[in-house]
Symmetry: C2
Amino acid sequence: MSLLSRSSVFNFAKRGFASSSKIPDLTKDRYPVKRGNYAIINDQDVAKFESILEKHRVITGEETQGYNIDWIGSVRGSSNVVLKPKTTEEVSEILKYCNSRKIAVVPQGGNTGLVGGSVPVFDEVVISMSLMNQIERIDEYSGIVRCQSGVVLEALEANVREKNLCVPLDLGAKGSCHIGGNVSTNAGGLRLIRYGNLHGSVLGVEAVLANGQIMNLMSNFKKDNTGFHLKHLFIGSEGSLGIVTKLAIHCPTAPQAVNLAFVGVENYQNVLDTFLLAKKELGEILSSVEMIDELSLGCSTTMCNIQSPLQTYPFYMIFETSGSNNAHDEEKLTNFLNNAMEKSLVADGVVTNESAKMKTIWEMRERIAESLLKMGYCFKYDISLPLSHFYEIVPVLRERVGDLAKIVCGYGHVGDSNLHLNVLCDSFNKEIYSLVEPFVFEYTSKLNGSVSAEHGIGFHKPKYLHFSKSKEAIDMMRQLKTLMDPNEILNPYKVLPPLNK
Amino acid sequence: MSLLSRSSVFNFAKRGFASSSKIPDLTKDRYPVKRGNYAIINDQDVAKFESILEKHRVITGEETQGYNIDWIGSVRGSSNVVLKPKTTEEVSEILKYCNSRKIAVVPQGGNTGLVGGSVPVFDEVVISMSLMNQIERIDEYSGIVRCQSGVVLEALEANVREKNLCVPLDLGAKGSCHIGGNVSTNAGGLRLIRYGNLHGSVLGVEAVLANGQIMNLMSNFKKDNTGFHLKHLFIGSEGSLGIVTKLAIHCPTAPQAVNLAFVGVENYQNVLDTFLLAKKELGEILSSVEMIDELSLGCSTTMCNIQSPLQTYPFYMIFETSGSNNAHDEEKLTNFLNNAMEKSLVADGVVTNESAKMKTIWEMRERIAESLLKMGYCFKYDISLPLSHFYEIVPVLRERVGDLAKIVCGYGHVGDSNLHLNVLCDSFNKEIYSLVEPFVFEYTSKLNGSVSAEHGIGFHKPKYLHFSKSKEAIDMMRQLKTLMDPNEILNPYKVLPPLNK
């Protein structure tokens, strides 16, 4: 495994950064995609929407632009209508009408997705869930929380904290993303290693089908084995089988103490062995295990003016513990680090539970994506790989794209085998595009990896789905789509590959 | 809330016990059920099965009896053919043939189910998974384990322990039940409060559809968002959408230390408040929270000759901790108990980490079901209820059945809102049956509870499914059944109510 020389990390400033505020090309111009046979919205349709919602909750014209562009500026749709329902019944009425007219729709949460799944491809009506933000109930005994799907993750967290609970999900976009969007995309994030995935935590959903039918699959219980577990059809299917309007989620006890270790590591094998040691010694208090390579850390520290507490290393790791007794947790974490140093797994490290210092460490990790975006156009990949081959794709790809890219770097949730791989260039560039895709997916597939770990398939990856899923599985997905959304009005051009591929 | 007088617990012996070894009536005689329009097995069919499998893996005649009767002796089928495949391909060949001939089949794991789901109702061919017991891979870094579905839970646990991992599931039947059966029924068990449910832990399945098609939905990753999450269709659908042949499951780090507290509690409100205190003070090390009422404890201690370390109380609770540092865990547990005693939540208690003593405590809990069975015929209910109303159904039902029942008692996973409610009588008795059903389900439904928490629907509960699921949800289940098993050969008469109901 080769690495760029250490000094490269300091060269960012010299290479110059492209502006990220440029409005991207229209999706239909940038990508080879053909509009489906859907109705084109007319004044009567708008009038109908205004009759279902209040007039000011039907947005048209200029104001719709923000809803047409994704966060990373990779796609841009041309929808002229954004609807803002407040109730499940309104969503039901909207879909019933759209289905009868064969009007395509795209449900949109916080629009923080990274695969172009949350904005229109053409002129689909945007159904923004932002006003469906009511928290219905927080039960401190059982830890079960019921809310509408448009509640912002950070707001949900703040509310459940008052009852000594925490949301079993945390990710960089928490200030914008909706819990319903998280559920619809089966978001993973930073603490999956501790609290598990949303298929485990979400106990019930209410979803509206394409024909407007409301499916009440809510449950207040962690144990509820009554028939087929239909709710999972809506968790992670990215709004293409129904629109999630409400959910029940189990929130564990909030930790009383959080500690963070930030360490420098000389090589990838040591990353792996340090992780194994942490699993053993930190066991139940381990709440995050992140890896950041040298170039990735260079991006966030440089672009966001953050002073790293460590000197330069090829790899960095973050270990977070969350527990109920700070003295116990500190003792475990210190013992773990001492052992890791003694075994020469870790070259240097800092431990802290001061919130300002923890914030700085997390910013170095969480602001990498944003920093890369500021620096130009970024091809982003989110893959799961066997830990034994986890990092080797980074140097391989670096060599493959050579000087065409400004930076090729990798970071991510190593504790969950999830790598975020980034190829940064000045602007969208077809030559690099053809060098990295489908190469990254083929490489991943050869290692039986997943071509989408936590970001989903969205608009960008349907044609690569077959690298991770068998023909039989894709056929069954299609059968389910036909069963549940025969007119294919829900989030078209996403998730499933077109039939002729 | 009223309770029977304390002395009642000592009256078991005087009441006399029915024999549990009696062969139950045939299901078709005891229950109003009509055979479906399936083929009747002939010699040619048997010859075909013998050509797919080795001859000695096709069981006919007398030896099939054990496969026809469920563990609690509530149902008895009349199948004359039991098949024992060793590979997925053999399962595929069997189903392909059965589907073409319209021969009904019932998949069978360890046959430890409690809702009559794992044995034939009439003459369905039994597909026993007992020889599909190979463990394919245990990855100590990621904790991911791949195995065939017929591995006995206890054997799987023993194997993963060698790599410092543990199976995220534990239940009384662990010595017999199969991990594939656990997955197919979405088994819950004793440690769900710590490790979550199988929808979260199971990362992939391989299943064979009714037509013999092999669905490879295996994954080696905790994060894998590639299309609809189809595997959940097979988790908890009780073999009625496909037969699970292989699975990948995430196994967490094995605990280094286990401690147990067994406490006596004077009333249900104190049970609840003690639980809340435990959640706060034991947080991440809490691995089990059980409640046992006085009569339930009396059953196991009397029938299994166990000496309880505590005197008699209306309620008992078990708190188990599992952690990575025994000194820390002991300190937390002792602090918790001292606080609970100071607040007068707990009347008396013992703490131990000696394995013999822990075994005794767990036996008092785990052998209740077996003890009840030894004492006569037991109507068993497995319901989830809001914690605020968790126990009140027990005295209500006790009053309702009066002297007709020998014992009405409740115990269960209070930490997961899951009550095991039992009505014991000498033998199956239609008068009691009509008093308890549908009463229990109606009562549960009024509280928005679940009519099956962890045992599933099986043969006994399809007609009660509507108490927990909406018409729309049941309709969609039926549509999925039709899509995936149009001839309805997979585990018929189970899970879904008949169409004319």
